[in-house]
């Protein structure tokens, strides 16, 4: 009977996944976008609800306005829920109007980036508004009853049943709504053919607006009701979008019932795995549950997709132009010399900022290679970097390898792991690839980073300070001498060499093949280019860069912790690289400067002590603005745009190739 008990307990988690999946479906129907920020939206609304319940304060999400104001003394559950739903509807309307409506014809990458920007922004804003309170998961009293219900031998908290019933009811209402209401029919008309819908008098804007309001309310309700079951904290809750996407993916983000069934099933299987881990002691004690959505995603994508896109797939790269890089080595050299000289004179705070910026530059280069140059996307950059860092510690602790060998082995392991996370890229592209790599990153976080042997368990992993022939290269020192200047210069040097290396690859045969694949996979294959090998080589190169960045951050922190290699950091890196100029090594340099804790932070800190806490939120805003308005990024803007029509002009979705004079 325990099996059944666990399966029913899993209904709770499954219902959350299903409900979030439904919201993903609604948003996708409205705007053909997979909203990575969907669970983050629900997370914010849930914070609004629980704050209302405890203090009666309304917390508003717009940066620059007062964060909270007192609304009502001790509202009841119903009042608080209604207010939270009103806030959700307003947020949905705002998000639609400001972000996804302007992007409705933009390239997939622009939409992915915009939703990442929203994700980053929401997590940052909750962090700002709630401070340290947000990080600790609080014990929450949800609106649903949770006393134990006995049914035969099975005793399960009542809210599990409630959640399942509510999500099925919600799905039923949605299904009826899409089938029979005016709005539902209009949504289906717009999804089928936007221009045709306009002709018969349906306004796609109104339809999109209404759907986004519904989606946000669904997200908020799901997290509010389920918060006692799934915990509420900004990043973990926001990452529930991964199983939600897994539930919606098999039905192509369009099937209401498919999403509910798969979502519930994922939750139940995850719960049963927990049971089996108790019964079968040989099963690893780690987050096998998180493997379930990954499995669903990989299986779905493996059955779909082709090694080459078909004739009808709309082509044409909508990434910024990848300019010539002949002038990059001198610029990188100059920047290095200036930074290295500065490192000799500045104080500890600025030296740390230099290290952070140098490492962030290497991370950004990894994104430049995969996304800027090859047109693929990976959201697993930091997961790969973390693997390198831990593998390096194992290599020096367990294998006794010394300085250059241990980090090199760590990087080699990262290349292998990065290669594996990239395998879906052989068959899937764009958005689906983003989903697959995101799921891969979450799986690495849950499976590998929670593996006590690999990460050192409680004791943690300590990176042995690097030294060569007795020459100490590490950052360790007492007091204001930390971080040591040698390490700063070493890090700067490696970053500069990576910039030059990527620039060199860009302007040689490797770079030409990368750009050929980025521009047009079919034409590349026709020209004899091994598209699959080119992609995987690029992922391998990017993984090596991420691995190097990982071992350097391990050295600079000395204690290696999984929390420095989270999925959130990967998203932020893609985001900042995009913002700075994703198709240019100089863009990566700029991204390094913008990174949190880097030179910009240090600069802001010297001006105003507490301004830097806004940096994340501001980055999120900038990112959305960049995706909507300046696709060329900071470095590219001002240079000549490659296509007169630009990025947002529908090049990726609705346009077919230029008219060709067909004679019948």
């Amino acid at each position: 009977m325990t099996h059944l008990t666990f399966l029913i307990v899993g209904l709770g988690g499954g219902a959350v996944i299903a409900a979030l999946g439904l919201g993903v479906v609604v948003a996708h129907r409205a705007s053909r976008v997979v909203n990575f920020a969907h669970a983050a939206m629900g997370m914010y609304i849930a914070f609004v609800y629980y704050e209302l319940r405890s203090t009666g304060d309304l917390v508003q999400p717009l940066l620059g306005l007062p964060g909270r104001f007192h609304l009502i003394d001790r509202p009841t559950e119903v009042t608080a829920f209604v207010i939270a739903m009103v806030v959700a509807a307003l947020c949905g309307a705002f998000i639609h109007a400001v972000i996804f409506r302007p992007l409705r014809n933009a390239a997939p990458l622009a939409r992915v980036v915009a939703s990442l920007g929203l994700f980053v922004y929401l997590i940052a804003i909750v962090g700002l508004r709630f401070g340290s309170q947000s990080a600790s998961s609080r014990v929450l009293e949800g609106p649903l009853p949770n006393e134990l219900v006995t049914w035969g031998d099975i005793r399960v908290p009542a809210d599990r049943y409630w959640l399942a019933v509510i999500v099925v009811a919600a799905a039923f209402v949605l299904w009826l709504g899409y089938r029979y209401t005016h709005l539902g029919l209009a949504t289906r008309a717009v999804a089928g053919n936007e221009r045709g819908a306009i002709l018969v008098g349906i306004s796609p804007n109104a339809v999109g607006l209404a759907n986004w309001m519904v989606a946000t309310m669904l997200a908020g309700a799901a997290i509010i009701l389920a918060a006692p079951v799934v915990r509420l904290d900004p990043s973990t809750t926001s990452l529930l979008v991964v199983p939600a996407v897994a539930a919606a993916l098999p039905g192509r983000f369009n099937s209401v019932w498919g999403t509910v069934v798969i979502g519930l099933a994922i939750g139940m299987v995850q719960s049963e795995i927990l049971n089996l881990q108790g019964e079968w002691t040989w099963l690893p004690r780690i987050g096998l549950q998180q493997g379930v959505p990954l499995l669903v995603i990989v299986a779905t994508l493996a059955l779909r997709g082709d090694v080459l896109p078909d004739r009808s797939s709309t082509l044409g790269s909508t990434l910024p132009q990848a300019g010539d890089t002949r002038n990059v080595p001198p610029i990188a050299g100059l920047v290095f010399v200036m930074a290295a000289i500065a490192a000799l004179f500045v104080n500890a705070e600025w030296r740390s900022a230099l290290i952070v910026s140098a490492i962030a530059t290497i991370f950004a280069l990894s994104v430049v290679v995969v996304t800027g140059y090859v047109g693929q996307i990976s959201l697993a950059t930091f997961a790969v970097a973390g693997v390198a860092a831990f593998a390096m510690v194992r290599a020096s602790d367990d294998l006794g390898l010394a300085f250059p060998l241990a980090p090199l082995l760590g990087i080699a392991v990262a290349v292998v792991v990065g290669y594996l996370t990239a395998l879906p890229a052989v068959r899937v592209r764009g958005l689906n690839l983003a989903i697959a790599t995101l799921a891969g990153a979450v799986a690495i976080e849950e499976l590998v980073f929670k593996w006590a042997w690999f990460t050192g368990g409680f004791a943690g992993a300590t990176a042995e300070s690097p030294s060569l022939f007795g020459w100490d290269l590490g950052p360790e020192a007492i007091g204001a001498a930390f971080p040591r200047r040698t390490f700063v210069v070493l890090t700067l040097l490696l970053a500069a060499l990576c910039v030059v290396g990527v620039a060199n690859l860009r302007r040689s045969s490797t770079g030409r093949r990368w750009l050929a694949v980025r521009a047009n996979e079919r034409a590349a294959a026709a020209a004899g280019i091994a598209v699959v090998r080119v992609k995987l080589t690029a992922f391998a190169a990017a993984s090596a860069l991420a691995g190097l960045a990982g071992v350097l951050s391990a050295y600079s922190a000395s204690i290696v912790s999984a929390s420095s290699f989270g999925v959130f950091d990967s998203l932020v890196t893609v985001a900042i690289a995009y913002l700075a100029g994703i198709a240019s090594p100089i863009g990566a340099l700029v991204a390094g400067g913008l990174a949190e804790g880097g030179l910009l932070t240090a600069l802001v800190d010297t001006v105003n002590d507490d301004a830097s806490q806004y940096q994340f939120a501001v980055n999120g805003v900038l990112l959305i603005v960049a995706a909507v308005k300046f696709p060329q990024g900071i470095v590219g803007t001002g240079t000549r745009a490659r296509r007169p029509s630009g990025f947002g002009a529908g090049a990726a979705t609705d346009q077919t190739s230029p008219p060709v004079n067909h004679r019948p």
Partner: protein, 276 residues
């Protein structure tokens, strides 16, 4: 390899050919898209050194046939032998590397690369060490240079080396597509409507350039609607209709074949008048 190298490696030295294969030989080639049979039981042979035409009304399955030959769509049944070897199991890029190179009906250039680099990338054959040597020595002379230079001058575009594709006219872009295919060292060049969208003068110039290819040892299979071009260049013509091969023969035979005339030429003649 350069232009003289091409001419020297005469195609009929290949052992497979002595056993009586053509350069390209398909038997029973069938392609289905769901219920649509886009190609049905097509047997077609291209002799080395020949210039072959493939004609048929729109939707007849010509592009699909080239897609199937070059590995861009899976075949449902039938087989393709190229240069004496069966190639059914090879992926698209291996088929291109073995000398079966195509162009696209729709313009599919590498928009981020200059004309010169569009050609260069098709001529380069990278090894596993390319990544490392490119990292250190980016300026090294590319192995694709001779082929790319030859291809560029073969289509007469030397002046546009450093232009980006979006700076070119439609006709020039078509020529770059042909040149890129030539830079990949084809034994058999498959052209999918190379003259579509070109004006009369451009078409005539293209015809002049294409007519020299067989002298360089390159055989050609050309899909084209412009019957003047087809009749003047090709020494053998195959006709497709509704996915099936309905006729083949010399230009004179095709011109006078009643089946072809009713299925295709008549219709084409009348509509060419309608759209000058």
């Amino acid at each position: 390899m350069n232009a003289t190298g091409r001419a020297a490696s005469a195609p009929n030295e290949d052992p497979g050919l002595r056993e009586g294969f053509g350069l390209l030989e398909t038997s029973g080639l069938t392609v289905r898209f769901g219920a649509v049979i886009a190609n049905q039981d097509i047997d077609l042979r291209v002799e080395p050194g020949s210039f072959v035409g493939l004609i048929g009304p729109n939707g007849a399955g010509k592009t699909t046939f080239v897609d199937a030959l070059t590995g861009f769509v899976p075949t449902s049944s039938g087989s393709v032998v190229f240069d004496g070897k069966p190639i059914d199991d090879l992926p698209a890029h291996k088929r291109a590397q073995s000398g079966l190179v195509r162009t696209f009906q729709q313009l599919e250039l590498f928009e981020d690369l200059t004309v010169w680099h569009n050609l260069l990338v098709a001529g380069e054959k990278p090894g596993w060490r390319a990544l490392l040597s490119d990292l250190i020595q980016p300026g090294r002379r590319s192995a694709g240079v001779p082929d790319a230079e030859w291809a560029l001058s073969a289509v007469g575009l030397d002046g546009l080396r450093d232009a980006l594709p979006n700076e070119l006219s439609h006709g020039q872009r078509k020529l770059v597509g042909v040149a890129r295919a030539l830079a990949a060292r084809p034994k058999l060049l498959l052209l999918d409507e190379p003259a579509a969208g070109l004006d009369t003068a451009e078409t005539r110039a293209l015809g002049g350039q294409l007519s020299t290819l067989t002298d360089h040892g390159i055989s050609v299979l050309m899909i084209e609607h412009d019957m003047n071009l087809v009749l003047s260049l090709c020494d053998h013509i195959h006709v497709l209709d509704f996915g099936q091969k309905i006729a083949s023969g010399t230009p004179d035979e095709i011109r006078s074949n009643p089946v072809v005339v009713s299925a295709y030429l008549g219709q084409s003649a009348s509509s060419t008048e309608a759209t000058p």
